[in-house]
Symmetry: C2
Subunit: 239 residues, 2 copies
Amino acid sequence: MLKYESVADDIREKIVGGTYAPNDQLPTTPELCDEYQVSKITVKKAMDELVAQGLIARRRGSGTYVKRTTVAEAKSPAGWDMSSQMAGFCAEHQGHEVTSVVHDFSVVRPEAGVAEMLGMDSDEFAYHIVRTRLVDGVPHVVEYTYMPIKLVPDLRERNVETSIYGYLEGELGLKIGSAHRVIKAVLPTDDEATWLGVDPSQPLLEVKQVGFLDDGVPFEWSVARHANDYEFCSISTHN
Amino acid sequence: MLKYESVADDIREKIVGGTYAPNDQLPTTPELCDEYQVSKITVKKAMDELVAQGLIARRRGSGTYVKRTTVAEAKSPAGWDMSSQMAGFCAEHQGHEVTSVVHDFSVVRPEAGVAEMLGMDSDEFAYHIVRTRLVDGVPHVVEYTYMPIKLVPDLRERNVETSIYGYLEGELGLKIGSAHRVIKAVLPTDDEATWLGVDPSQPLLEVKQVGFLDDGVPFEWSVARHANDYEFCSISTHN
DNA sequence: TAGTGGTCTAGACCACCGG
DNA sequence: CGGTGGTCTAGACCACTAA
C-alpha cells in the first residue's frame, strides 16, 4: 500500500471515528510528517485525497479543518464513492442480486452522433443493448448501450444478462479509466414505464455517459434512465 | 501564474487546437520537462489537471494519450467547467442578464434536518429565501435557500434580488470552498409550475446542495429545481 | 513576525508495458 | 531489457493569515 493512501486512510478513520471532530483544526503539516514519518509532499497528497472526498478544507496561512459534514455522508455510502460510480451498476449494489431483462441485443451501425462520440467510422458496427436492470428482483433502471465490436469482439447474451463491465475487466483484461456524464430529468416512454413498473407520469433521472478505457479510447455510449427516486451524488471543490 | 498551470494551459490549447490529435500519444515526461524547462513533478501536476478535466489518459509503462472526446466538450463549455459550477448561477450565465423574483425572504428557525446539515443549534436563526431565477427574462430555476444569520449578519433584499454569492465574496470577503450535491428528478409543485411557466407534468432536475466556505464551515443549504431541460455535467476518473 | 500551507526542484527508486 | 509514468524524499522558497 502506498504511503499517502495509508496516511489518508488513517486520518479519514480518525475523522469518522470522532478523534478529529467537525470544525477541529487538524495537526499541522510538520506535525503529521513527524507522526507518520513521511515527507511534507506525501502528507499534502494524502490531504488532497481527503479534500476531494469532501472531508476537510485547507486555508493557506491558517490551517486544515474538518468540514462540518453529516456523519452519514462522511462514512461515504455508495452514492458518494467515486470509484463505485466508475465501476458500474453491479458494483454500486454489492451484496444484492443484480439481474437483467434483455429487450434487445443486436449489432448495428449506430447513428452519426453516437458514432462520433465513440470515435467510430460511419460504416463500423457496434453492439446495441437495451436492458432493464433489477436489484433483488425490483426493476431500477433501463439502459441503452452502444459498444464498438472492434473493442469487444465476442460479447454474448450471457455477458449482457449479468455484467458487461465484469466481462470487459475480467475476461478481456480491459481497464476502465473514466466517464463523461450528462444528467437530466425526463419522463419515461410507454415501454420504460412498463419495464420499470412505474406510472408514466413519474419522472426518471437520465444519465447519458461516454465510458473510456484507461488509454483514453471510448468503449461505450450509454443512456441510463433511473426510477425509484435514484439520487446522483457529486462533490465540487475550488482549485 | 503558476508553472504547472501554464504548462497545463499550453497543452490544453494544443489539444483543442489540434496540434495533438485525439488518440495521439503526448510527448513523454522527460520531453515535456525539456520543452517547458520544468521538473518532472511539475509536468505531472499539469497532467493531473488535464486528467481531471477529461482531456487525457495515462498508462504507466506506456504513455499519455489524448482522449477521443468530441471537440465541443473539449472546449469546456459552461456545463463542463467545474469552477463555474462552484461559483453560482450568475457565473454560469455570464454575458446574460440574471434577475430574480423573490417569493419569500424571512428569518426562521430551520427544521432539524437542515439545521444539522448546517451545523446549527436548534434555536439558531437562518435566512429563508425562495426565489425564481431568470436568464434574459426567461425563468430557469426555483431556489429554496437557508443560510445561518451568524455567518451573514446583514443580508438585504437587494442582495437577494441579484447575487447572494456576489455579496458573500465581494462585500463580506468570504470565500466559497466546496459543495456537496444530491441530484434527482422531480415533478414541479403547482407553485413551481406557475413560477417557471411550465406544464405541471414536465419533470424538473432537483439539485440539493450544501455549500461550504474555504474553512469547511457550511454556509448554505439549498434546493434548486431546474426547468428547460437543464443538464448537469460530471467527469469521473479512476484513481 | 512566526507559522501555516503551496510550489518547485533534483534525484532516487519502483511498477508496469512493450519489443 | 529500455522506457514509461508513479511515488517519495529533503530542502529551498513563496503567499498568506493571524496575533
